[in-house]
Symmetry: C2
Subunit: 549 residues, 2 copies
């Protein structure tokens, strides 16, 4: 599977391979704005300073004197540092003890669970069953498909010792499962009646990457890998296209990422595939992220493994296959598409917490009323299926909490103070619209109007994120007619879209000279006759070139 | 985690570690009884023979001439062969290419998904978050906790080559994650405010077992492992007990397995734990299966890894920890608890298919009416949240289908023939009551009565399975007062329950002389004063001895 196959151009994340304690990234929160009394919620407690044990490095702490100590690097200043700061501060992931490995922390894993929930249902709806293949693959399997071994052998992890003994045959820790899947398919597929065979597994995979980056490219990552076998090439092609379509809809409708779906060039096709379809996403730094791939494997693996069936005429034929994958890399794509200087910004449909409720009170006698109101609001929303959380910790000020949950990317905040309690209303703030503009006062908590109001707001945020990302994407794609224009576009950090029918060598020349690769030949193509930007020869399609992760 | 730690007394399942094709177990179905016309459903088509391409070894095929070729070995004749036959015939799992590994096929994996769905919800209700730790652990980590390394080092798989290079430090493919969890906990836990820290992960683990058996003990298996850290020993103890209680309820209420919950002896305690709690299940051959464990780790790992926190008085203390696991081994427990000579028998709450609908018709003009009725029945049940499937394949006879789905352990079968269509009714058959006794005719499909009827039947089956297993268990536990009686009980293949306060050496002597180990000191203890069956000294508790998987 090609999801994480392109070499990284970005910096290493260094973590020791020894057991020694690692230098930790700062975990203090930026203090971007003080809570101000611009709402009906009480504000004076918001400025109350909470002392914390200073030698401890705990969950994010905030002190007014650290006001200028902005520790989420601004995105515009250093995109990579900003990205790593968000991952540390929002507690999405941490470095594992082995170089290039990653611990996915509960908040990051909850995003993965939301991705799984959606895709798992779609896979089942489209006729696939989950199962599980062993992760240890005999080394000889990898060698069976020529381009597959060429693509994967440099990045294999090998088990050579088991139960205290040197093994006769080295075992590969799966980098992907086509080989073992075909080994098993040969035992399950006999007649056309056994086809199509359509399965999926959720699993960990290992690739010995040299340059790693949390989520985007790690030594071990989590993914799903679908594998199917069909009786005809047409069915396999339809399946490969169906699954890239599932991924595209997921990206648009759930992740609010306006990916461009298309076909990979021959140079960029998965090691062992006949065709690779991809969804390409534009990150905040305008680099492309390959966010999911679907491969038409043709008969490459079935010929290598002898995966045959008897057709309706009694002839033995090799099956036609596909494979397709989305991985934890996608979480990196969400961060880098929607995040801003304030921190993470999560699309409501994938947010582990969609609504954070913050109670605000000043006097002890206000406390019970406010807390009761927050509980009742929580129950109303929960009953409506909304993922809601109360932050009623008394160790943090409301201002600290506002910053913290904005940094965590929670789409909607509800503030409840004593005056709100008396009026039976709340204050609602949108994560995606900063300050007063995103804040609405006096929203009645009367259930019949309140639930639809909150749902509408979440929908608005969901589509607003997609809209903003789409505008950003479209304003950063340049249509080019010549190699000079292509170079200019890439030099400006943009994506270049232009007609292409040149050779693989020309494609490699572009990569060497500009750092950009063909991301895909998009499915959506302009009408009319075209001339190749490189050769001037007739071209059937435009290609998109970009620098990428 | 100790879920799979006890040495196996059972036979190997041999699978080559090379890429060569494996000899396959026969996959033909037993033909235990011919479909007979004892119901309103049409029967003549049931005897229709469907030709199949004879050189193919496909999904289970049935030919009347194979009538005497009973290929599910009778349970009473050879329990182990019966077990393997069920796994092959019901398509639960297959052998992986590497010795001792297993491919979990869709039907087996769907049982695992049902287990996951239930437990995952319970873990979240009890305050745990899912996350993910890398599977590669520096070898030095394993050496840090003395008894842990002693317990696990003989069965480690080691990665020594990565990215084409010999690694400086060997990497362990996780056999369990206490060490890497503690390494990370030291970075996340600082103050008492960070406690309790309660997490869980769903993952694959690897143990280089010499004697393997599908589901029960495999080189790689799937499990969940919970890990928690607490400020006090009391909290850790409560957590360990809470989780064994979650497992116990799961076993009784979902899997219909009347496990006995209790505490392990010191000899049988997990490598690194202070106390191990266990649920022990009696299999159909009366061997015990350790089906889930919960460990109070005390401060063993926190001292080895320096996992400390600052308490409310500013003192640095080591945290108190637990870990707990249930694995794909549990599926083996379900098979061996409920299965019979006919095949698998699944508890309705974990069955991937709860109701199988079989349309039966003879004349072409009956077909549409019957199929419409099956579809409408399916829709009614599906809308009520029941997992239902129609087997409308025209290549198999109803008789073949009856056998096939009974062998697959589906709790309830609905038959619909032309006469049922005219009367607006169906025939309902229970998997757990063979033949006419389990069959009811003329059940009206009028939705308001039909749905409750089917739900009641499923509930009845669920509790009946538990009842049968409980009687079987209770009739096979002997209360013993002396070592002679213990030996007699074990020689009869039963479990022995008797007072025990003897030494570890005495316990090992029992194991050597009888093959039985202390499965647990059950939580439920008889009242009154007791004398140790071995020494005659006063004993506080009775222990249960049994041979085990």
């Amino acid at each position: 599977m090609g999801a994480l196959r392109l070499p990284s151009l970005t910096s290493l994340f260094n973590s020791s391979s020894s057991a020694a304690a690692l230098p930790r990234r700062h975990l203090h929160l930026p203090f971007r704005r003080l809570y101000t009394a611009n709402c009906s919620a009480q504000s004076s407690t918001a400025e109350k300073e909470i002392s914390s044990t200073s030698e401890l490095e705990g969950p994010p702490k905030l002190k007014p004197q650290q006001d200028k100590d902005r520790v989420i690097t601004p995105r515009s200043q250093d995109f990579n540092a900003w990205y790593l700061d968000i991952i540390a501060n929002a507690e999405l992931a941490d470095y594992g003890p082995v170089r290039g490995t990653m611990v996915i922390r509960p908040y990051g894993y909850a995003i993965w669970e939301a991705i799984q929930d959606y895709l798992n249902a779609k896979f089942k709806e489209t006729g696939h069953s989950n199962m599980y293949f062993p992760q240890f693959i005999p080394y000889s399997f990898i060698e069976k498909e020529a381009s597959h071994v060429e693509g994967f052998s440099p990045e294999l992890a090998l088990v050579t010792i088991g139960g205290g003994k040197e093994l006769e045959e080295k075992l590969v820790v799966r980098p992907t499962s086509e080989t073992i899947v075909n080994h098993m398919f040969t035992q399950w597929i006999h007649s056309y009646r056994d086809l199509p065979l359509m399965i999926n597994q959720w699993a960990n995979v290992t690739r010995w990457e040299m340059r790693t980056k949390p989520f985007v490219r790690t030594l071990e990552f989590l993914w799903q890998e679908g594998h199917t076998a069909h009786a005809t090439p047409e069915e396999a092609e339809m399946e490969a296209l169906q699954m890239i379509d599932v991924y595209t809809k997921f990206a648009y409708e759930q992740a609010a990422i306006p990916v461009i779906a298309g076909r990979k060039s021959k140079v960029e096709t998965f090691a062992g595939a006949s065709k690779t379809y991809t969804i390409e996403a534009m990150m905040g730094d305008r680099k492309a992220l390959q966010a999911g791939t679907s491969h038409n494997l043709g008969q490459n693996f079935s010929r290598a493994f002898g995966t045959q069936f008897t057709d309706e005429n009694g002839q033995r034929e090799h099956v036609w296959q596909t494979s397709w994958a989305i991985s934890t890399r996608f979480i990196g794509g969400i961060i880098m598409t929607h995040g801003d200087d304030t921190g993470l910004m999560l699309p409501p449909k994938l947010a582990p917490v969609q609504v954070i409720i913050i109670p605000i009170w000043k006097k002890a006698d206000e406390r019970t009323g406010v807390l009761n109101a927050t509980t009742s609001v929580k129950e109303i929303l929960e009953a409506a299926g909304i993922k809601v959380k109360i932050d009623d910790s008394e160790q943090r000020t409301p201002g600290w909490k506002f910053n913290f949950w904005e940094m965590k990317g929670v789409p909607l905040r509800i503030e409840i103070g004593p005056r709100d309690v008396s009026s039976g209303s709340v204050v609602v703030s949108r994560r995606d619209i900063p300050g007063k503009q995103g804040k609405v006062f006096g929203i009645s908590t009367e259930s019949s109007s309140f639930v639809p109001y909150v749902k509408d707001k979440l929908d608005e945020i969901q589509s607003s994120l997609l809209g903003v990302a789409t505008s950003f994407r479209d304003s950063n794609i340049m249509d080019v007619c010549s190699y000079a224009e292509l170079k200019e576009a890439i030099a400006q950090g943009k994506w270049a879209r232009g007609p292409w029918s040149a050779s693989d060598n020309d494609e490699l020349k572009v990569k060497e000279e500009t750092g950009a690769t063909i991301r895909c030949f998009p499915f959506e193509q302009p009408q009319g006759s075209k001339k190749c930007l490189m050769t001037g020869n007739p071209a059937d399609e435009v290609a998109i070139f970009a620098k990428s992760y």
